[in-house]
């Protein structure tokens, strides 16, 4: 089957299911007794198995299959959730992720999963200490207990057809005595008896493994026979060194055929199969009530298409502007009315298109819980990660860029922020450290905060290092506020860890985080109290494609200054301008702010008549300010950010361009370049 056309869908969905798996596994770790969670994981693994088998990725199918078996055993209380079991399942899901990524990158999706499969098999076979719950059997015939048996469609069909033709289908579980010496021989004897009685269609473990004695002390055989259960059981029990034999009819949860009454057996550990057909399972009402996720009414759209849509819409906006001016000229009532309606509708359309490009920040956050869990283990620390506001939406373009800086910050918080359990107890704090990741909207910005209750920034140590590295001089160091000191750790060439760890000390410091965030038009700040913890705050623009600007005029040219950089606008008198070292400055609310004449920088020419008053825009970059002199302000506007293209790479003090309502191009001022 040509599956190429489904590949993209397969990848997307696989990732989604793996993500669901991971999330639920973390949940399960917290609530090991909540079987509804196990059901969720099972469902995800099951779907993944089906998809990968269809696409021909056998290793994925194989591994998910084993995972599913283990989950099913958990689901049916055959084995209890322990952290060692979860570790193996986590590892499996990591391996699955690797394989999916491999496929995405054009690989074959093959990976040696033998070790994991073996481990899963062992868990499933009950080799884990708390494994088999045998005591509660006996009365549990009516319950849906499930063993490791999974029937594929073919086997199900065989069983149901045989039943229709008057055969019996039994699952025979044989438990050998612990002191049994020749397991393989006993297996052979059991098989010999069974083969005379009917046809064996399935065994667990596989025949090969049974022959090689690769099983613990029990195995299960599915047989189709004319004989009845008691007869068969009696025959099998004649084999010596047998602890017991249990027999029961094959059952499918979907009940495609009549379920015979369960045979009596002294101690039973009845085995029922997980259902292969998802559709049928979904149809069962009890299952549905367990499901917490309802199907989303969404479709997948390639981001490129949204970009095209956006571009087309921008052209429409430009034409709308023209139409408006024509209508204003012609003064035709009908034309005016139509134009107004069109303006309103296109305004709504703009909101919708912009919203379509928004993605919940969850898509970035959801990989963190697992990362934190792993890191905490590696570092031997106890850390609880709280995520607040994962539903906060950000433009796709920002989302794509923000992942790595956040990973860096979290690693930093875990490694350098939160102390080891012993230190925490000594400091009178709870043993478990808390790291909170918070996202929220405020105005035109999205804030992402990372707060930890760790050691905070050690002022003396940071200053010492900063002076050593020549980042600040000793004189200046004295005058710095705590906040300024904390922010020193963002300077390039800074690393406070005494020893380099592979968690967060690999030579690239937090300065990379800072520059990435600034390149996104964002801003990062740190607040820290020694001994109480730190708060890293990242401020990001809602979107990179539409920004709010102040349009300013210089002679005949119009420039746009991003509102995110603007503190305020002011009109100053010539007498307010002071001279300091060849640099003109103004006194702005008690601060000395350098004056930058944009008309000189951009060569627009100065007004012919000397001005009495000057219009200035006060902009900031971090803590530094500058006052940009322009001819006049036009007003505030939302604009679509466009790049100047690859021909004009890095033009001084310009970050891009936009198309105004009249179709003209206006340039966007890069305030960061104007402030030293």
């Amino acid at each position: 089957m040509d599956t190429n056309q489904y590949l993209e869908m397969f990848l997307e969905e696989s990732k989604e299911h793996l993500q669901a798996c991971n999330e639920q596994l973390l949940e399960l770790e917290k609530n090991p007794d909540d079987l509804a969670i196990v059901n969720e994981i099972f469902r995800a693994a099951h779907t993944l198995k089906g998809m990968s088998a269809t696409m021909g990725y056998e290793d994925i199918a194989n591994l998910t299959h084993k995972m599913e078996n283990v989950l099913d055993a958990i689901r049916n209380s055959k084995i209890r959730v322990t952290s060692e079991i979860l570790d193996v399942v986590f590892e499996s899901s990591d391996a699955l992720e690797e394989m999916v990524i491999d496929i995405e990158e054009g690989g074959s999706g093959k990976k040696d999963v033998e070790k994991l499969v073996t481990m899963l098999n062992q868990i499933e076979a009950g080799n884990s200490p708390l494994a088999v719950v045998e005591e509660k059997a006996g009365k549990s015939e009516s319950e849906e207990m499930t063993g490791g048996l999974v029937y594929d469609d073919f086997e199900q069909t065989v069983v149901s057809q045989s039943v229709e033709q008057g055969f019996n289908a039994f699952e025979l579980k044989v438990i050998l005595r612990d002191d049994c010496l020749l397991k393989a021989a006993r297996v052979f004897m059991v098989f010999e008896i069974l083969e005379k009685a009917g046809e064996i269609i399935k065994t667990f473990p596989t025949v090969e493994r049974l022959e090689n004695e690769e099983f613990d002390s029990q195995f299960t055989v599915v047989i189709i026979t004319k004989e009845d259960a008691e007869e068969l059981k009696a025959k099998v029990q004649k084999v010596s060194e047998l602890e017991q034999a249990e027999i029961r009819p094959v059952q499918f949860q979907s009940a495609t055929f009549e379920v015979a009454t369960t045979m009596e057996a002294p101690v039973t550990d009845p085995v029922v199969q997980p259902v292969k057909q998802t559709a049928k399972k979904e149809a069962s009402p009890t299952k549905r009530s367990n499901s917490t996720h309802s199907a989303n009414k969404t479709i997948r759209v390639n981001i490129d298409r949204l970009d095209v849509l956006m571009n087309l819409f921008e052209e429409l906006v430009i034409d709308r502007g023209r139409l408006q001016s024509i209508a204003a000229e012609l003064q035709n009532a009908e034309l005016n009315e139509t134009t107004e309606r069109m303006t309103r509708i296109s305004g709504d359309l703009q909101n919708i298109i912009l919203n379509m490009r928004m993605v919940p920040v969850e898509t970035v956050f959801n990989r963190f819980p697992k990362m934190v869990r792993q890191l905490a283990r590696d570092l031997d620390k106890k850390i609880n990660l709280e995520i607040i506001g994962a539903e906060t939406e950000l433009d796709r373009t920002v989302i794509d860029e923000i992942g790595d800086p956040l990973v860096h910050l979290i690693r930093n918080a875990l490694d350098h922020g939160v102390e080891s359990p012993a230190e925490r107890i000594a400091a009178g704090k709870p043993e478990e450290g808390t790291v909170t990741l918070r996202a929220y909207h405020s105005g035109n910005h999205v804030f992402i905060e990372l707060e930890d209750d760790g050691a905070g920034v050690n002022r003396a140590r940071v200053l010492k290092k900063a002076i050593e590295r020549g980042i600040v001089s000793e004189e200046i160091a004295e005058t710095l506020t705590d906040k300024q000191v904390a922010e020193l750790i963002l300077s390039s060439g800074f690393s406070t860890a005494e020893k380099l760890t592979d968690v967060s000390g690999r030579g690239v410091g937090l300065d990379v985080v800072k520059s990435t965030i600034e390149s996104l038009g964002g801003h990062i700040s740190i607040e820290s109290k020694e001994g109480q913890g730190s708060l890293f705050q990242v401020q990001l623009p809602l979107t990179l494609s539409i920004i709010s600007v102040m349009l300013v005029q210089m002679q005949k040219e119009i420039f746009a200054v991003p509102l995110s950089s603007i503190i305020e606008t002011a009109i100053i008198q010539n007498s307010d301008i002071l001279n300091a070292h060849n640099q003109r400055v103004i006194d702005f609310r008690g601060k000395i702010v350098p004056l930058v004449d944009l008309r000189e920088i951009f060569d627009t020419g100065l007004p012919e008549e000397p001005e009495e008053l000057k219009s200035v825009v006060i902009v900031r970059k971090g803590e530094s300010l500058a006052a940009l002199v322009v001819d006049s302000f036009i007003g505030q506007q939302e604009i679509v950010l466009k790049s100047l293209g690859n021909y004009l790479q890095s033009v001084f003090a310009l970050s891009g361009a936009t198309i105004l309502g009249n179709g003209q191009v206006a340039l966007i001022v890069d305030c960061n370049a104007l402030i030293k």
């Binding site: 100047l644 001084f652 003090a653 198309i659």
Partner: protein, 157 residues
């Protein structure tokens, strides 16, 4: 530049600068616009031959004046002045030319490597010359004419 089609002719767009005719492959040309219908936004701090950017159907496209680029005397733009929009590998650029109104097939054997002196146009910009009947066409090496402009710094000011 010298990709020859199967029947050994190259389709070119021919344009005029001063009194000389130049040719570029038709494949790289996206469209030809009338300059007077366009509003050019000047960009500060770039070489003088970059006249600015225009809004080309929603795309911000830089414009290069080829007369400036080739150090030819400037001329007022008039009704004949055209902007030829070319798509290079990584970017689109508009070229301001005096006139553009011809498409000519250049046979492969008519293309010669450039003679020692071709007017005042610097040799690195020229890929070759072709003589078609009595016309001499200069094939341009656009990759050299349109090298990306980078690191234009504050010292420009």
């Amino acid at each position: 530049m010298t990709a020859i089609t199967e029947n050994n002719v190259m389709k070119t767009i021919v344009f005029r600068l001063l009194d000389k005719e130049y040719a570029i492959e038709v494949d790289v040309v996206q469209s030809i616009e009338k300059l007077l219908l366009m509003t050019i936004t000047r960009i500060p701090g770039v070489p003088s031959y970059v006249k600015g950017v225009i809004n080309l159907r929603g795309m911000v496209t830089p414009i290069v004046d080829l007369r400036n680029r080739f150090d030819l005397p400037e001329m007022e733009y008039n009704d004949n002045t055209r902007i030829i929009i070319v798509n290079l590998e990584n970017f689109d650029v508009g070229l301001i030319v005096d006139d553009a109104n011809d498409v000519i097939d250049i046979p492969a054997n008519a293309l010669e490597s450039q003679p020692e002196v071709v007017g005042s146009v610097e040799s690195e910009f020229v890929a070759g010359v072709a003589k078609i009947e009595k016309r001499l066409l200069v094939m341009l090496n656009l990759d050299n004419v349109l090298r990306p402009i980078r690191n234009v710094n504050a010292d420009e000011n």
